[in-house]
């Protein structure tokens, strides 16, 4: 499941999307793949899980 959270970085507001099962996520309507995606709130992007796991360090 893709989790959506409101976060702050350096006192600025952002929206963070990530998979709760460590899948990479795809920005819907694009071919952009992310481990996690942090955006400006007004962008209102949506994400879906892929079938690719995030590599671990």
């Amino acid at each position: 499941m893709v989790v959506k959270e409101n976060i702050k970085i350096n006192d600025k507001d952002f929206v963070k999307h990530y998979s709760d099962e460590q899948w990479k996520i795809r920005k819907i309507g694009t071919d952009e793949i992310y481990d996690e995606a942090i955006d400006l709130p007004e962008m209102d992007y949506e994400y879906e899980e892929t079938d690719e796991k995030i590599e671990e360090i």
Partner: protein, 304 residues
């Protein structure tokens, strides 16, 4: 153990002490001079303190260590997969187009690399290595994760034409301040810049790009979360002016700075590289005079 004399050439695979098809062995080089080593697999090359040139010409898992002033030219068909260890200081090759995984992992001694025709770099290629200063990969189209993770001597990279900055690419590289990415590139995760100036609001980093829409990076996914001190700029090559000045245009960029939060202001800055004898220098021109960014003394006799 094969012991080489200067100008010896080893051809043919080393005698196997392992299993068939994967020969192993040790080549010991004890005198200064030029050496050519061909067709090896899991050989170790021991070079105590020679100066000279070592040419290695085929794929394999090799260990090159214990040499001081030698210049090592590793010439593969196209891919460098060797895992190099020890005191390697400089490496330069214009034939290699692919760098394999972890080739320079933990090589703290290396300070100068030059692979001008590399198009792809695999996982952890330079992780925790001593690569120093600004590195140019102008033909690069793809990178895997963690390639420059923990490279504290690295100050900048030209990432060529990549379209994705892979996960953890620069994580922990505390002095990386300048990136050049020709086109639009997504950022896989914000950990790519953890503990770098790009993620430090008191320092900031600079991304140069000639991607046509200069407002894309400052609002793009993950890029937007980096330090508010970041400046996103655009590059355009202006070859005409440099050619008019009679300057070799190859190592130059003209950078037109378009700060997205201001009216367009134009500043012309240039990079150049010089190599005089064994002194490799990087220069920056942005305020009326050339400023030296780095000076690296190259080992070996030919300094290439």
């Amino acid at each position: 153990m094969a012991r080489l004399r200067p100008n010896n050439v080893i051809e043919g695979k080393l005698k196997s002490t392992g299993y068939t098809g994967e020969p192993t062995g040790t080549i010991e080089i004890t005198e200064n001079g030029n050496y050519n080593i061909k067709q090896y697999a899991n050989a170790s090359v021991q070079v105590p303190q020679p100066s000279g040139t070592i040419n290695i010409t085929e794929n394999g898992a090799i260990n090159v260590y214990e040499y001081a002033n030698a210049t090592v030219n590793v010439t593969y068909n196209e891919t460098l997969n060797a895992l190099l260890e020890g005191t390697l200081r400089t490496i330069s090759n214009s034939e290699i187009t692919k760098l394999g995984s972890a080739v320079f992992y933990n090589i703290s001694s290396i300070n100068y690399i030059n692979f001008p025709n590399v198009t792809s770099i695999a996982y952890q290629c330079f992780r925790n290595s001593g690569v120093t200063g600004f590195i140019y990969f102008r033909k690069l189209t793809s990178i895997a994760g963690e390639i420059f993770m923990g490279c504290n001597n690295l100050t900048g990279v030209d990432l060529g034409e990549i379209t994705n900055v892979a996960n953890n690419s620069f994580n922990g590289s505390r002095n990386i301040k300048t990136l050049i990415i020709k086109n639009r590139a997504s950022l896989g995760n914000v950990n790519a810049f953890t503990t770098t100036p790009f993620a430090n609001g008191n320092v900031g980093g600079t991304l140069y790009t000639n991607y046509g829409n200069e407002t894309w990076y400052p609002t793009a996914t993950n890029w937007v979360s980096l330090s508010s001190n970041n400046q996103y700029k655009s590059i355009q090559k202006n070859l005409i002016e440099l050619q008019t000045l009679g300057i070799d245009i190859t190592p130059y960029y003209e950078i037109v700075v378009n700060l997205p939060t201001q009216d367009i202001s134009t500043t012309k800055v240039y990079f150049k590289e010089t190599l005089v004898e064994n002194e490799y220098q990087q220069w920056f021109y942005g305020s009326g005079e050339w400023e030296q960014l780095s000076n690296i003394h190259l080992g070996g006799n030919n300094g290439s």
